[in-house]
């Protein structure tokens, strides 16, 4: 059976909880007519603020939980070392069961993390009472929104890219085997190119030496190398092949098919880099900004009560 996505976890358990929370909050906001006008300091405003802060703690704890998991598994393994008769799969199963029974799988945490993040938009916005300004309080709110919006992208990435990555790798390949294959094709092409003119040899050499997979931030994200030497080599070989003599054609076809194969492998390797970059780059915003937001949130709370 296919495992449910993080959005569908436990029959949408956290979706339901978050929805109820949001509906209740909006209803309370609409029905409450505080004497002071809606703002963070009315009793409902404080309630929204406290709830939002608790949700923020829960959301941050997901990050902690995610990073602690390997450590916990190691500790568990150490503890279990005293009972060596248990084989490893058994132990893992037991651990997974324990976590599942306690509702604490990372998958479950992520599902809760996602939906509570959405609920936080509503609760925190109602907490502001729609009063914004150039101050630390609105800065905290803005940081929170950037973190949550980057999280939306993260959900999109998690749901989309792993599937594309698997399809791109066609089941069995890995990035490293792709690189080895490419290198092997490079060698083959070099040998096959020796009998041809310097032009063809130079094209093949350039394709071997200057083709880049990956690169800086933008190259990784776009899977693009300007004037990719391999792609150009394939194009140029098509042209140069036309002027060859008949007895060279068979060898040339060999060379051409090697280069064309290489080009497809290079494209797949670049796509793999791209998918991994697109899967991961948002975390370079999400994680640091979440801590920046937490800091701003602490300043917000201190500032409010310092000058009550």
């Amino acid at each position: 059976m296919q495992r449910s996505t993080l959005l569908e976890y436990k029959n949408y358990r956290y979706f339901k909880i978050a929805s109820l929370l949001m509906i209740a909050a909006v209803m309370a906001y609409l029905f409450d007519q505080p004497a002071t006008g809606a703002y963070g300091g009315s009793w409902l405003g404080y309630l929204f603020g406290i709830l939002s802060a608790l949700i923020v703690i829960a959301l941050i704890l997901y990050g902690v939980r995610k990073r602690l998991t390997p450590m916990r598994t190691e500790q568990r393994n150490l503890l279990d070392a005293s009972s060596p008769q248990q084989d490893i799969p058994d132990r893992r199963k037991r651990e997974a069961n324990w976590l599942r029974h306690h509702g604490a799988t990372l998958h479950g945490w992520l599902s809760a993390h996602t939906y509570l993040g959405v609920a936080l938009i509503v609760l925190a916005t109602l907490h502001t009472g729609f009063e914004f300004g150039w101050n630390i309080h609105t800065l905290a709110y803005a940081l929170m929104m950037v973190v949550i919006i980057s999280g939306f992208y993260g959900i999109y990435a998690y749901l989309r890219f792993p599937r594309l990555m698997t399809a791109n790798m066609r089941g069995s390949d890995t990035f490293d085997t792709l690189l080895l294959e490419i290198d092997d094709l490079d060698k083959q092409a070099s040998v096959k190119s020796l009998q041809f003119s310097d032009d063809i040899c130079a094209i093949v050499r350039k394709a071997r030496q200057e083709t880049l997979i990956g690169g800086n931030f933008f190259r990784q994200l776009t899977a693009y190398q300007r004037n990719c030497p391999t792609a150009r080599a394939v194009q140029q070989l098509q042209v140069l092949g036309k002027s060859l003599e008949y007895d060279q054609l068979k060898s040339f076809d060999d060379l051409y098919s090697v280069m064309a194969h290489k080009e497809s492998l290079v494209r797949r390797a670049r796509l793999d880099v791209m998918y991994r970059a697109r899967l991961g780059f948002w975390l370079y915003l999400h994680a640091p900004l979440s801590i920046a937001f937490l800091t701003a949130l602490i300043v917000h709370i201190v500032a409010i009560f310092f000058y009550w």
Partner: protein
């Protein structure tokens, strides 16, 4: 003809050189990877025809690069060189070394592949560009530390320094005070802009709400809401000023919101059973009828409040007889200058604050144009009886007629007396009698119910006063009908007077023409916004701290 001993060097598994010798002869010796080359170097880094070795007439040997090919001679690039012994030439990845000629060879040339292509995976990975974001130089940890650190420093630590260390130099304290502004929830209310950088004027202790004492340090004369101190304390208990006055939320009606009032006034009868006030939530919905304040005397306490719903009691007892209908007649009212059309503002003039009207006076409003002159009977040229108390009026009459009688005595004429007057012992006594008689006769005319003073005033007879046996009822014109509000006429100047005060048909001064609440509601609504209506909260008309009246009211007095 060149005779060349070509020595091909390769390496065995232990790295030791293995030499393979070959004799090459020819006019020239081609080097490259083309099939026809005498020295065949099979590597894609070598051109088809890479270089050629030639012999000069003198027997010297030279190596020369072919067109488009690069060679390196003794570690520097060049195009040709003499192949003297120990000359190193790099052709692609191969190193050619001219060795010392021996036997009958013109040239001994060794060749070794010195730059083989690596084929291990680590090398392949190493020559790759970064393939992960962290390899490309991104770091979550660094960004986290920088962002969180900067926020904590700029928005928490620096703003708190003046509090933790009060002895900072002024410039440092000022710069940090401006950082502390980032803590403010919103713009300061207008009145407090002056102290917006001096947080501790109000926030006296960290983590403690602003005490009322801090407000009272400056606002020394602000009145309480309820005059009765015990009741005030009972109603407001430990409620702080700051609970209504939100000073960091810009201009929300001077820092307060109307709905604050409704907290108590929605169920005021529950809060205080003895109260005469009605429960009220909104001006549009349940504001009771206005109560009009009738002045019954000249002291502040001489007032009676009557709700407008009690219509039979809405009668003003001013002691005057005045017809607005006559004075506002469209044909005009007769005056010494002919018929004059009067407007409301001819008599009712706004006070300096534009809130209410200056008091009406006989001299300024009724006699200025020559109307309502108080003449002697019969009239005396250039003399008028003053508009004052009965006694003063009587005295003026007596003085005038006495003076007239005495002047007649002096000139030997008979004082102008009626029959049967003036039987005194001597001329002076008779003149005095005559004067008193004339004064009294004149006063009788003036104090008649419907002429002279009686034309405007209510007059009663006083039997036991033989000197001045008439009494003019004291005039009490109500100057402020809605004492618990601060209505401003100037703000309603776009409306005509008669839109609200229908006095054009009023014949009696007892008619009251203060508009009822329904009139206000034609334009004003309560807290809830309604299209084409003016949103009006409690404090549009009322003041919370209303023991002291609104400045506009004070100006009208």
């Amino acid at each position: 003809m060149i005779r060349c001993l070509f020595i091909q060097i390769s390496r065995n598994q232990s790295g030791q050189p293995v030499r393979k010798e070959l004799l090459i002869t020819g006019e020239t010796i081609q080097i490259g990877r083309a099939a026809g080359c005498k020295i065949l170097l099979l590597d894609h880094r070598v051109n088809l025809h890479h270089a050629v070795i030639r012999q000069t007439d003198e027997g010297k040997l030279f190596i020369k690069a072919e067109e488009d090919a690069d060679i390196t001679i003794n570690d520097s690039s060049g195009l040709s060189a003499e192949l003297s012994p120990k000359t190193h030439v790099l052709v692609g990845p191969y190193e050619l070394i001219a060795e010392t000629p021996m036997d009958d060879y013109d040239l001994v040339l060794s060749v070794e592949m010195v730059h083989p292509l690596p084929d291990d995976h680590e090398y392949i990975s190493a020559k790759q560009a970064p393939v992960t974001l962290s390899e490309a130089g991104l770091s979550k940890r660094k960004l986290t530390l920088w962002l969180a650190g900067a926020i904590a420093l700029v928005f928490l630590i620096l703003p708190m320094i003046p509090t933790l260390s009060p002895t900072l130099p002024k410039w440092a304290a000022n710069s940090q005070a401006s950082l502390k502004k980032s803590w403010q929830l919103g713009e300061m209310s207008r009145g407090h802009h002056l102290i917006s950088a001096k947080c501790d004027v109000c926030h006296q202790k960290p983590f403690e709400a602003v005490p009322d004492k801090a407000c009272e340090n400056c606002h020394k004369t602000v009145a309480k809401h309820i005059k009765d101190k015990a009741l005030h304390a009972n109603v407001f208990k430990d409620m702080r000023c700051g609970e209504c006055h939100h000073e960091h939320r810009g201009e929300i009606r001077g820092g307060t919101l109307d709905a604050q009032c409704v907290i108590c006034h929605a169920e005021i009868k529950k809060k205080n059973e003895k109260t005469k006030l009605e429960n009220i939530r909104d001006f549009s919905k349940d504001h009771p009828a206005f109560s009009l304040t009738f002045e019954t005397g000249h002291k502040d306490s001489d007032v009676v409040r009557i709700p407008q719903s009690d219509k039979t009691k809405l009668v003003e007892k001013s002691g005057l007889k005045f017809s607005h209908k006559v004075h506002l007649d469209k044909e005009g009212v007769s005056s010494p200058e002919g018929d004059t059309v009067l407007e409301c503002r001819d008599c009712h003039q706004l006070d300096a604050a534009g809130a209410r009207f200056r008091p009406i006076s006989m001299e300024k409003n009724c006699q200025q144009s020559g109307c309502h002159a108080l003449n002697f009977k019969p009239p005396v040229l250039k003399r008028q009886i003053p508009h004052s108390s009965e006694q003063k009026l009587m005295a003026v009459l007596r003085e005038y007629y006495a003076a007239t009688a005495i002047s007649k005595v002096v000139t030997g004429e008979k004082p102008p007396c009626g029959a049967g007057v003036g039987f005194g012992k001597n001329q002076l006594e008779r003149a005095l009698d005559c004067a008193n008689h004339n004064a009294y006769a004149n006063a009788e005319i003036l104090f008649k119910p419907n002429s002279g003073c009686g034309e405007c005033h209510e007059i009663t007879s006083v039997a036991d006063d033989k000197e001045v046996p008439w009494k003019v009822t004291p005039v009490t014109i109500t100057s402020h009908w809605l004492r618990n509000s601060h209505f401003t006429h100037a703000k309603h100047s776009t409306a005509k007077c008669t839109d609200c005060h229908d006095k054009t048909r009023s014949e009696k001064s007892s008619d009251v023409a203060i508009p009822a609440i329904e009139k206000c509601r034609e334009c004003h609504v309560g807290n809830k916004q309604v299209k084409n209506r003016i949103n009006s909260g409690c404090d549009n008309c009322h003041s919370f701290h209303n023991e002291n009246t609104h400045p506009s009211l004070a100006a009208g007095q």
